[in-house]
Symmetry: C2
Subunit: 401 residues, 2 copies
Amino acid sequence: MGRAAREAADAMRTAPPEKRSGAIRAIARHIRHRAIEILAANAQDVAGATNLVDRLLLNEERLEAMARAVEEIADLPDPVGKVIEQWTRPNGLEISRIRTPIGVIGMIYESRPNVTADAAAICLRSGNAVILRSGSDALRSSLAIGTAISDALAEAGLPEGSVQVVSTADRDAVGLMLEGLSGAIDLIIPRGGKALVERVQREARVPVLGHLEGVCHTYVHASADPDMAAEVVRNAKMRRVSVCGSTETLLVDRDAAPKLLPQIADALDGCELRGDEAARAIVPMAEASEDDWHAEYLEPILAVKTVADVDDAVAHIRRYGTGHTEAIVAEDGAAAERFLDRVDSAIVLWNASTQFADGGEFGFGAEIGIATGKLHARGPVGPEQLTTFKYQVRGNGQIRP
Amino acid sequence: MGRAAREAADAMRTAPPEKRSGAIRAIARHIRHRAIEILAANAQDVAGATNLVDRLLLNEERLEAMARAVEEIADLPDPVGKVIEQWTRPNGLEISRIRTPIGVIGMIYESRPNVTADAAAICLRSGNAVILRSGSDALRSSLAIGTAISDALAEAGLPEGSVQVVSTADRDAVGLMLEGLSGAIDLIIPRGGKALVERVQREARVPVLGHLEGVCHTYVHASADPDMAAEVVRNAKMRRVSVCGSTETLLVDRDAAPKLLPQIADALDGCELRGDEAARAIVPMAEASEDDWHAEYLEPILAVKTVADVDDAVAHIRRYGTGHTEAIVAEDGAAAERFLDRVDSAIVLWNASTQFADGGEFGFGAEIGIATGKLHARGPVGPEQLTTFKYQVRGNGQIRP
């Protein structure tokens, strides 16, 4: 598998962009073509599943959505060969920094069968080969989708090794991939729960682009417009509570809390609040414990803490945040800029919902996840983030003194 | 140490650029001020040294060169806060991607005491805190330089934790750093021989920016100007044989070899040649074995292989190269562009010496090494490559539909 992927990566890297786009479109077509087999395989997975049935479930509608998502990726600009920077040295050497694929990516994921199609399309868009290791719950579905992908690659004239779905469900496959399949894998991307990502980060012998936790904060500054604060906080927490960019802790300036907090609490109808003493003196709510400041609830629960000022909010985020996404709601531009400067998270927003933490919302077209590490890529990971670069240097006989 | 570094990293990140520049200049000043102690400590290291004495040796001249190199880094532009990209979304959100420091860098290196000053200055320039672990051979010298650095930090009003030199010479220090000092280290940079880098890449639990091997190739195409070919190959191999960017294998188009190889061989006076059969039929030289195609000699030895054409040269490089630096000498632009496109190395040159593989020659001002991996940074690693980025998003109350 490793050898096949490595050879395919060379073919992918040098294939013209249209060929990659054609292959991605063919994937969508062949997924539709094999709908009956894929849904049958999925029915077996669902029958054998112990939990997460909804994430696992495919139906005609979801299959069509999967195919359309793949077609959208086919329409994205191809990042390979794009010039990032270009400059000329005093000795006349012309240096360009251009995007190139990373090579072979290993994806390890859990129950969502659509990840198989998504990941294949994004990796092809960025010129990479990929080895996909689906969770055992969704294995039959993933293999059926993998067959459609193989058909598409053959039709497009790209090596089958460009996208390979690991057929065994046993845990050794993960172990081998984490070892890098003896040098064949350049980057591992885990996609799933905290336990999976932690295992991958602990055991991987190759670089990992991982999404760990999103303990996101929204800080309402004393200068905030009360209506905007209420609406932004409601959206940041309640639009979808299960996404990594949902706000888990609300920070409010203590002095302005009596003015701001009641309206925010009203807007959070249906959300359980857990607050510190000052917050609870203003709005009746449960008492927050130390654990609540660390919690990624992914549920309609919000921790509420009062702070003295911007620096106090930044200090709380530094201590309890996970470097994912934080927002400030403020009319005071100086306070907002201080927050944008001081908070060291992948995404820092001013007067906007933390739920904008998404590759699509950033204009990346598609994303394979949000990276919470600091190296290589940070934040939404789209096709461009799945590339590296090389330097092309053009001279006319220069030698180094 | 980890805690001190983490706290210092926050202070460094938010310090104004002038403060960082001032601290770097102060380092140079205090190195000069403590010249006597540093040279005395170095004399003890040299007395106790078993090998590498020249790399280890400091004298007044080398100390002054070290101080001047540090001052040059103080004059480099500060990358922190620089806007990389900026765009506005249809919903009005203004997104900027800006450079931020990585945080805490761990450097593990061998006998050159000047690395202590260099690495400290480059890490400060990029807004990072650094933990330096010197080779035991150079430990006394490094600690003496570290004292000068501490004086400089105190004078500049930056936390002493910004630059820490590990005082113990025992190997546990390396082990603890490779474990990441329980979350305190964001990136490990090994600098030294292959054994050190391999151990770090094998054992590190945190991302590694490593320089492994430079098996660099220069390919002389049939269309090459014979004089240029001879001069570029001579410089690529012989200017300095011990640097990682020196050419280790010469590839020559077989049909043009009778015309090109003799003049190249003459230019390589003082260099041992080891060739394949076709090469040896043109110029008398030793016979190359399979090992020679893999060899990073770092000596006046050059492997010589004849190839059928550009694609054959690319195939040889794909098989034996280490992804460091390769060059083509050609007048035929189409052949050159094919080589620049197909060779997947950090640096690919056309009509220039592979010895230009250097951060200074690229205009980075200084470098901490050449990265041979593909993630985060590739090629010369200067201050900019020691940064990451974050997204700042400015809105006016946007919520996500």
